[in-house]
Amino acid sequence: MALSGLDIYKLLPKTNCKDCGFSTCLAFAMALAQKRTSLDKCPHVTAQAKEALESASQPPIKLITIGSGDNKLEIGNETVMYRHEQKFFHPCGIGFLVEDILSESEIDKRIADINSLKFERVGQVISPDLICVKNTSKDKDRFAGSVKRVMDGTKSNIALYGDDSAAMAGAVSLCRARKPLVICGDSGNLDEFIKLAKTGSLPLAVTCSNIEEAASATAKAKQGGVEEIVINIKAKNLSGKIQDYALMRRTALKKNFRPLGYPTISFTDSVEPDIELAEAISYATKYAGIVIIRNTKKEYVFPLLVTRQDIYNDPQKPVQVEPKIYEIGKVTNQSPVLVTTNFSITYFTVAGEVESSKIPSYIICCDADGMSVLTAWAAEKFTAEKISDTLNNIGIMDMVGHRKVVIPGYVSVLSGKLEEISGWKVNVGPREASGITNYLRGYK
């Protein structure tokens, strides 16, 4: 949590020596609070003050990076409990468990399945982020062999899960360049895992059965020189895990309590695929930094990825669709032309209704900065001029033989002016999208 100028002032020498270039210590403190200058400008600051200030300037939940390059997964650095308070910043990673007890061909099949999981939605490509290879066999060579197959078969980020540090060291040496997340499964071996993570500058996940243990383990890891830490709470049921995630996040945010200021990794326990999906969605909505699942079937993974996309949308920034002509059904040059804004929900709702009317139609989304119809109209982003301009320049005139357009009922007030300046005949449609099906069926 950020310190105020006064909090910082209390930690400064208060001599007003001006060596920092500011006329008083208070002025310097204010500038520091606004991040306009840096603490090293003060040659007299004590070591304790320096440490206190540095730790206060860190985000309350640390940003952790797994992997490298364009694919890398960043989690943590969250600032709120509820998305309406600001937003959720770093979408939770979604990954798959690959246990090294699988045969080579089973692993290859899993990798192929995972590689095929790529979907496009509202203009974004969504796909899973990592593969977690687990040393279930307890066999060092088997673990290494599995890691190698995964490395060869995918460009995915990697997490390595094991109890034995020698097996882990072997696996790490195979994929160090991908900056894997090292998951220590057995807290008895934590010291060796800490050394391993420190030596390789790798992120380390500590496995614990409750919050107290987690705080001790992260403190120990930090002391041992590991910077990037992730918390894995095991042996709790669904509500127990969600409760722990909430408590850890809230305590880190509200009290700036460092030992809990790390993202979490969550493994599903359910074997039935439907319940596993439900469990994974619970973790994705409630504070997990990474969710690892077993099922790779696309009809399960897709809704999970879309849930993450929805929850991590910025509530202050509407999701937009490209302003253009959308063809719904087998359109002809006599099909109706409907105009609306490019707010994605507006477009999808209208498109859904047009589809269910079974009347092929063109929907033109005007560029209205992604606002809904009424908001855009009030903000003068959806005006007669704008619609006229769009109708005459977007290319629809070459696609239809008529000059009739339907506008949303909420902006019926625009119809006169729009007819006058565009030369199109304007029909006023229903106010709500739910009326479109009936409207189109009676439309001539």
Partner: protein, 306 residues
């Protein structure tokens, strides 16, 4: 390490609404004193419930994948309702009086009410009863339906800011609770609860519908409105302390993701939307596909485990 964890403890609770005549089958919803499933911080005395949706006529615009999962029973409303209870485990049903709608048969109100009465008698579980979506026809059929089920303590809907008086008056007269709907807008939700209470209906007889949207179609807007309303209720806003109902099935089965990529994905879309809504504080989920409903009931049991 002893840690002073920041727990949220609230003084105020969500209202408890009872549906159904008093007895062993009464369904209670609401009563929470915590955000969903955070049992170290407060309680959820009543588990969220799944209501399967049945119509008073064979549905004409439901996807085949949903219809066929009910078998032949879906052709007759009473048989359908009974199957929902005996085969698919529903402890409460939502009957939509679709047949009176001008586009879906335009049948006389009396016919719809007769069907509803038989469903009530034969299914033997508490009922949620909603209109067809056509205001004019609903203002005719709902008072008759309400009277026919007098004393059954049903949950009737849907009241909106522009059309709440008829429904509130009939609920008052016949002893039912009602659903108030607002367009993803916390202020209108509150305003409507005030308007309905001002007519004399006990606020503990109101359930809020914050509007439902499917996963991928703005689900997160509803999610956040629900969280905001809940948090306001917990710190004392009595006019937002009503339980939530979400019509998940109705919205999910409109989307192409549910309809066009195989039955399993549709079922999962309904499960995913439902679970997200439960995590935002849903008390009643009205669902369509029996497999999705079954999975969500199982999930609720698991999540309610302390």
């Amino acid at each position: 390490m002893a840690i002073d964890l920041v727990k949220e403890k609230y003084n105020d609770a969500i209202n408890t609404v009872e549906i159904g005549p008093s007895g062993s089958k009464t369904v209670k919803v609401g009563g929470e004193t915590t955000m969903p499933f955070l049992f170290a911080e407060g309680g959820m005395p009543n588990a969220p419930v799944v209501a399967l949706e049945v119509l008073d006529c064979e549905p004409s615009d439901w996807p085949e994948s949903v219809k066929k999962s009910f078998g032949d029973s879906i052709k007759t409303p009473v048989a359908w309702a009974k199957a929902c209870v005996s085969e698919f485990g529903a402890k409460i049903l939502c009957v939509r009086l679709q047949s009176v709608h001008p586009d879906y048969g335009n049948r006389p109100a009396e016919e719809a009410v007769a069907t509803l009465k038989s469903i009530s008698k034969e299914a033997g579980v508490p009922l949620i009863v909603i209109g067809s979506g056509d205001d004019e026809k609903d203002n005719e059929v709902l008072p008759k339906a309400s009277q026919a089920l007098k004393g059954e303590n049903c949950l009737f809907g849907i009241a909106t800011q522009n059309n709440y008086k008829t429904l509130t008056a009939t609920a008052l007269a016949d002893g039912h609770s009602i659903i108030g709907e607002s367009p993803i807008d916390i202020n209108i939700a509150k305003q409507l609860n005030i308007l309905i209470s001002d007519m004399g209906l006990d606020p503990k007889r109101i359930v809020m519908h914050p509007t439902t949207t499917s996963l991928g179609y703005g689900m997160e807007y509803v999610y956040s409105i629900m969280e905001r309303a809940r948090l306001a209720a917990f710190i004392g806003d009595k006019m937002l302390s009503m339980p939530f109902i979400l019509f998940v099935g109705q919205e999910v089965w409109k989307t192409k993701e549910a309809k066009e990529f195989g039955e399993a994905q549709g079922v999962n879309w309904e499960i995913a939307t439902s679970v997200a809504m439960l995590q935002a504080g849903a008390d009643i989920l009205v669902m369509r596909h029996p497999s999705a409903a079954k999975s969500v009931m199982k999930y609720i049991d698991m999540a309610m485990n302390k």
